[in-house]
Every structure is written in C-alpha cells, then in structure tokens.
Symmetry: C2
Subunit: 164 residues, 2 copies
DNA sequence: CACAATTCAATTGCACACAACCCAAAGACC
DNA sequence: GGTCTTTGGGTTGTGTGCAATTGAATTGTG
C-alpha cells in the first residue's frame, strides 16, 4: 500500500466495493420484487413473515433485533401487513408498552405457498449452495465489522498503516 | 440437493443469502452516512459525484447507466446536489431533451477533501485490499446474474436440476 | 413534409430506512 | 409514595428506489 495520497486510485477503488455491494443488494431486491409480486409482498415484509413463521409470535422489539430494523421502519410496515390481513398486532397485557405480532391464519397459510420462493431465488443467483454459503459468511463478517467500527480514526494517518 | 420440499430448511437457508446481503448493504450505508456527514452528502449523492469527478460532465442518462439508477431516483437527487451548490444542470443545446450535469467549482473542490473517505471506509471494513477485490468480484458476478435472470422458471422443477 | 415511434427527463405514488422526536408504561431510587 | 430514568412503540421528516405516467424533443418512415 502506497503512502502517496493517490486520490484518483483511491476514489476509484473505493467505488468498487461499496458500489458493487449497493448494486448487488438492489439487484437482489429486484429479483425478490418479481418473485414476491404474486404474493403481494415486498421484500422486507417477506423478511418479517420469515421470522414470524419461525418463532410464531414476537414483540415488535424482537423483530427489530432480528432484522436490525427500528420502529420507524417496522411500525408502518407491520400496519401494512395487518391491513392486508397477514398479521395481527395485540398490545401485551403484562407489559402494556409491548406489542405482540403474530401471523393470522391467512399469514400462516401463506408459508406453504412461500416455500417456492427460495428455489426461484437460488436459481436466479446461479450459485451453488456452497458458494452461497461462503458469500453469506463473508457478508455476515463484514456486517459485524462495519457495525462495530467506531470511525474515530484520524482522517489521514492511522488508516494506511495499521501498526500506527 | 434433495428433491423433498423441505419447507423449513428452504425458508431458513434462503433467508441467509438475501438477508445477509441486505444487512451488509445497510451496514455499509450506515458507515458512509457517518463518514459523509461532514460533507453534507448522502451515499448515493457521493456516488454521483464520484462519476462526475471521473468524467467531468455527463447527461443524466449516462449517470443512470453508470449507477443503474433511473430518472425517478436521479432527478430529485440531482436537484438536491444543485441546491447545495455542488453541481450544475444545463439543458443541452444540441438535444434539448438531454440535461447535462457537471460539478460546480465547489463540487470539484470537494474532490480534494473526499479522498479521505475511501481510507476511512476501507479501515472500517477491516478487510485487506485482496479480500475487498475478491468480494467485489463475486458481487459483480452475482449482480450480472441477477440482472440477467428472467425468472420464467417452473415454480418447482427446473430449479434443482439445471440439466432439465 | 407529415406522422408514428422512440428517447430523455421530470413527476407521482408507494414503500423502505433512519434520525429525531414524543408519549405512556415500567423500573429504580430515595 | 414520589420522583428519575429507562424502555417500547409510534410519528414526523428527509432521502432514496422503483414502477408508471407525462410531455417535450428527436428520429424514422412513407
């Protein structure tokens, strides 16, 4: 790694990682959009249903922890899922701050139809299960790293030389 | 790969790839948000500036092709960049349908300060340049595959057996 | 030249995603 | 009991991201 500023190269290189991740994510989103259209679901709505199918019933807080989403995103999303009759929201009696979400019978029934989704997505990726697993592993590690980064680095030094 | 439906496993496995990609992308976005706050830029705005810094001046259409964004996203974004004085939009004289975007002197000057950004981002990833390059390559390949997928597959068969 | 098809940008509508706030309920503390 | 703090959801505001439409300009074709 050079210590010269090398503005051109840095700006180009940087674009590569973040941009490819950004684009891949949107491309994936597009594929999900197409596949989930038949179910009338968006991709984040599908994610919420996945965790509910697994756990049966969860408070909003727990869904947010699982998906790393806050109430600003989840509240309206859950209201939409409730509006189309797939989930039910009930304020807990023992802790009235908490709202418990669970699939309605229609929401639970959707699970049977939804098991087709992963096959179609996997086919669209064109990757083997092994490659998928590997990529997933790297991305999870990257996310953990990014979440933990505090960014309190000196603007210039301390970056190029980790031993500093 | 088994041919049994295996709903549980399929739904879980599927969650892994798409979810990790989705989460990694948002985590990256969060890091950029923190780093770019000093510049008053969002991450997509930064991407637009990157291509403008490289090419000097581009029609909206070309920016969209580079970043895979359409006018619905770019039009308001560019108006914001114009509002804060970083770019200039001018309707082309030779083709009046086209709008040419280029950095203002302030926008061009920002480039010098922005070369700090990639260092901080790279540091936050905790990855070597080699790992970054490898990941980028996989993601680009994945995006290409996803963009090309037509999804006109049979819902069930035709997935597990590529020779079909 | 006239007319249809295409292209480019902008706009509208909807759904995240996140920061920043508000409020009510629950705990913690004296 | 009476405050103080924390916690869980909700709301608001801003900024994407994308489908669908509009409208003007250009191109293609007879």
């Amino acid at each position: 790694m050079k210590t010269t500023p090398d503005t051109e190269e840095a700006l180009r290189l940087d674009r590569q990682i973040c941009f490819s991740l950004h684009t891949a994510s949107r491309a994936f989103n597009g594929v999900y959009r197409a596949v989930l259209k038949d179910f009338g679901l968006t991709y984040p709505q599908y994610l919420v249903l996945l965790v509910l199918w697994e756990d049966g019933e969860l408070p909003v807080k727990a869904i947010g922890t699982r998906l790393r989403l806050d109430s600003g995103t989840l509240s309206p999303l859950l209201k939409r899922l409730e509006a189309i009759g797939l989930v039910e929201r009930r304020r807990s009696t023992e802790d009235e701050r908490s709202v418990t979400v669970r699939p309605t019978p229609e929401g639970a029934a959707l699970r049977k139809r939804a098991h087709l989704v992963p096959h179609r997505i996997a086919a669209a990726t064109g990757l083997s299960l092994e490659e998928i697993g590997d990529l997933q592993e790297r991305l999870s590690a990257l996310t953990a790293k990014l979440d933990g980064a505090d960014l309190d680095l000196d603007p210039l030094d301390g970056c190029a030389d980790p031993t500093h």
